[in-house]
Amino acid sequence: MPREVEISIIEREFIQNALQEGIRRDGREFDAFRPLELNFGDEYGVADVQLGKTRVIVRISVDVVAPPPERKFDGVFQIVTEFSPMASPAFEVGRPTDAEVILSRVLEKAIRRSNALDTESLCIIAGLKCFALRADVHIVDHDGGLIDASCIAVMAALQHFRRPDVIVEGEKATVLSTRERDPIPLSILHQPLSVTFSYYEEGNLFLVDADLAEEQVRQGEIIITMNRHGEICQVNKYGGAPVEPLDLLNLNNVALQKVKDISKFIQQKLDEDAKKRDAGGLMAELSAENAR
């Protein structure tokens, strides 16, 4: 199995020494994210997130299927992660690395199990037909902070996505094309976002959004997922050195601030995109005039 290429000894020592002096490798503050960029595709439900050099593309697609018999009134929603070998020499198709397993588990807990998406609204005819929503997470470039970036990308894509409208007559359902009727946004109950804290020096020093080199030096990480109202969806700590309980509370406060900032950023980008798409209503669209 291809392994992550470890950083060299002198890099490791240097990063640790620099952190002791209170300096990060790229000159950021300890609790600062890398520059975040978010772009939407031409189609609904495509979000491209760049966090420093890390890049994640999420695409939402929809299909009509029969719901599982044990959940007749629910739609189907699944998140599929794919690590492209282009992103890092450590990734190989068909052989998930630990990072990939952790990422898909964290996303599952953060978004699917926290009921961010109201799956009941995806039901068309109870027990017969429902929408199956699928979020494909593609890691295109890997420089650390995959969990945070993926979470942002999935939530942004879900908020951007529009599903086609349906008409139900008895047991017959007709899916209307986007030309016939405007597609409908998904009903999203809340917007969970993840903030990963890496800690060093036996839990005395916490970093937000560590890059790949910093991730390799860290003694452990704590993943906190919450929405902008401060409701915690999960707190994850996969092994590593022990951490003081009081620190955990402090991290929650930091995470809340970050989540609020990012939520605002996503909303601002969504508004910009909506403005760009708005052709000026149906009348403008139907008009035969063109800008000649």
């Binding site: 290429v5 060299s8 020499p89």
Partner: protein, 242 residues
């Protein structure tokens, strides 16, 4: 560097007029990377880039900033030791390519009894000795003719920074490839840099701040393609922060 830059694309024929006019003793024309001779007298390009000539050496080559490092004999590289197998170390020149081998005896003063002990993931400054098409590249830390290290060997402290291959080549040029920022910073604070052709720059200095400032300055010049003016401004800013 030639004053006039011609951009060539793969498959272009090089006209006779753009060949260098020899001023030195060397009469035979040397073709560098990216050029190919088709007998009897056609020269075509195989890569896209800026056509560069050197009249003194009677050489012509295509200057390009490629993404992938391909080892060439004589290149100075910074390699990462991965493990020790039999009588040589396996090293990585880039994370995406197979190992290069570094014989354990290819160090200054190394004998069968006194071999260097290098831990995995330590760095060495080395020269590429051979790179066959079907064999892994071999590197060395000693000049085979003199038996001296000539500045090659393990790197002990400091920090490494990744730059583009074009930038690494510019830094290794005698004229420093118009990178003046280092001289400007070096006039005030002391530091030491080692450049590997595989796109790695190693910086060592008195403290963490200096090392980071120098390394980031090089990366900034590289990423933003700063000219002379920009580099002067950058150097001023860096010196003020130190």
């Amino acid at each position: 560097m030639a004053a006039l830059v011609t951009v060539v694309l793969p498959g272009d024929e090089i006209p006779r007029s753009s060949l260098p006019t020899p001023t030195g003793k060397k009469k035979t024309l040397t073709l560098g990377p990216g050029l190919r001779h088709i007998p009897p007298d056609t020269i075509t390009t195989t890569i896209a880039g800026a056509l560069t000539t050197d009249n003194k050496k009677n050489a012509i080559w295509v200057d390009t900033n490629s993404g992938r490092y391909i080892p060439a004999v004589g290149d100075l590289v910074i390699a990462t030791i991965q493990n020790s197998v039999f009588e040589s170390f396996n090293c990585l020149l880039t994370p995406n390519t197979p190992f290069a081998s570094l014989p354990q005896l290819a160090f200054e003063g190394a004998t069968r009894k006194t071999r260097p002990v290098l831990a995995p993931h330590s760095l060495v400054y080395a020269r590429v000795v051979s790179n066959g098409q079907h064999t892994s590249p071999e590197i060395t830390c000693v000049d085979p003719s003199t038996g001296k290290s000539e500045g090659l060997g393990p790197l002990k402290s400091g920090m490494i920074f990744n730059v583009s291959l074009g930038m690494a080549r510019r830094l290794l040029l005698k004229s420093k490839g118009e990178v003046i920022v280092l001289e400007l910073i070096g006039a005030k604070v002391g530091f030491e840099i080692t450049v590997g052709r595989n796109g790695i720059v190693h910086v060592d200095g008195a403290n963490v701040k200096t090392i980071l400032a120098v390394g980031r300055a090089i990366q900034e010049v590289d990423e933003q393609a700063l000219g002379e003016k920009g580099q002067k401004k950058l150097a001023e800013r860096v010196l003020k922060s130190l």
